[in-house]
């Protein structure tokens, strides 16, 4: 089943090298990017792994049991490996040994990749931008500085960025884990379990009903708008200096405990926050509705806003 035997692989390498050789031999000539295309059969519910340093990757789900890669690659891109083994297909953009991308387009790969719509995705990019749509399996996406846009197709999401911004629609998804350092995050649609960690990136989440939310920030502002908190749902948020805003569509049945060391607490329901008895800070602690759930927000100097109902 595996068409990518070492022999074929070597032949492909030799061919590509031959094609590339003139470019290396005559560095004075502007090297052109070249087209690339490949297709491999793929397990309809298998995993597709995509690795690229620079450029742009556009992933779309389709109803074929194969992975199709088309696009252009820069002159200094050594090759693009597309290989299937068992239920895993890998698309890897390979740069010459010793180079790590130079910030110029010779190292870029701009690829459109079609994958079976129920595939699991594992995407590792450095500065390449990612667009994603119509893939329903679990998606693990990571980037350093590339941007991530599109929709999660309804599957679970696990997204990590260092400085790239993330804009994803996750309608139909029941679990989302998002981690950023300085990239901004705009996520909509997760209904269920959400985890977020940011250092300085701002996060805006528009979610369904939360069964479990864990939000952590250093200086980024975090804003969550959700339909509501599930019965016995848990929301925990903490921030050092970023502001935290939680807006629920319905008044929750939860024990609420908000503490701010020097930030202000603004709440639209429940009693007013009180100053701490020992030491600085203010606290808002009360039972909302029938209780059962738990909302806990801790902040050092960020302001906290908690609202519910129309």
């Amino acid at each position: 089943m595996n068409a990518n035997t070492p022999k074929n692989h070597a032949m492909r390498c030799a061919t590509l090298t031959a094609l590339l050789l003139p470019a290396f031999a005559l560095p004075a000539l502007a090297a052109a990017s070249r087209p690339f295309s490949a297709q491999k059969p793929a397990d309809p519910t298998g995993t597709v792994e995509i690795i690229d340093v620079e450029g742009s990757i556009d992933i779309a789900g389709w109803d074929q049991p194969s992975v199709e890669v088309t696009g252009t690659i820069g002159a200094k891109v050594e090759r693009v490996d597309v290989a299937s083994s068992g239920n895993r297909t890998t698309v890897r953009v390979v740069l010459p040994r010793g180079s790590n991308g130079g910030g110029d387009d010779d190292y870029e790969a701009h690829l459109k990749i079609r994958v079976p719509q129920k595939s699991q995705l594992e995407v590792s990019l450095v500065s390449a931008d990612l667009r994603l749509a119509g893939v329903a399996g679990t998606a693990h996406l990571q980037t350093v500085s590339g941007e991530i846009n599109g929709d999660g197709g309804g599957g679970d999401l696990e997204v990590a960025s260092v400085s790239g911004d993330i804009h994803l629609s996750a309608r139909g998804s029941h679990s989302g884990r998002f981690k950023t350092v300085s990239g901004d995050l705009v996520i909509s649609g997760v209904d269920g379990d959400v985890q977020l960690s940011t250092v300085s990136g701002d996060a805006r989440l528009t979610l369904g009903t939360l069964s479990r939310a864990q939000l952590s920030s250093v200086s980024g502002d975090v804003n969550v708008t959700a339909n509501g908190l599930a019965a016995a749902g848990q929301l925990a948020a903490d921030s050092v200096s970023g502001d935290v805003g939680v807006h629920l569509g319905a008044v929750p049945d939860a024990d609420i405990d908000v503490q701010a060391f020097s930030g202000e607490i603004h709440n639209c329901f429940g009693p007013k926050a009180v100053e701490e008895q020992y030491g600085p800070g203010s606290r808002l602690s009360f039972r909302s509705g029938k209780g059962g759930g738990h909302i806990q927000i801790d902040s050092k100097s960020g302001d906290v806003t908690l609202c519910a109902g129309k």
Partner: protein, 201 residues
Amino acid sequence: MTTPRFTTIEDALASLPRAVQPARDLWPAISRELAAPPADVALAGGAAARDTAPRFALKSWPLALAASLAVASLAGALCWSVWRERPAAALVARTAPAPAPVTARTLVNFEPLHNAEYVSARSDLEQVFNERLKLLAPATRARIQADLETIRKANADIRAALGKDPASPLLLKLLQNTGQQEIDLYTSVAQTTEPMLARRT
């Protein structure tokens, strides 16, 4: 007898200094004791102590993951995303030179079971992080360094606040989170720069 300063016993007692500094710094002896091998844990209370000592009831989920993984799997202890199946230890083996000596900057984890491995892995992870930074474009590198500064400054702010308000579990928890954020940053950079490593053909 001197003239009484207070009108009531309550006032008098409440005026006494709650904090009294010991004549000498007790921290060195305490930290030595805490860094000692697990034998103390067993002596301190048998099975119950063994059950509770290794685990930390931390709210942050990455370490909650670590709590359930074996000591040997540093991936669980240090990596956010276990699904990558590329433990920090493996990353380190591939790229790091001989582990740097433990410097004063390196945080020491008193976790009895993880002591030596944790210290070594943490130091290695920092090294991998620094190596990988060099691979990145200057603008990206600058952003990452700025964010590391943000985390460290937040950490310092919280410590300063703790100095003035010792009775604050809120600050303590936030301090813990910033420590975790720093490790997460190293891990993120280490993992996301993997595509840049020179590959063998």
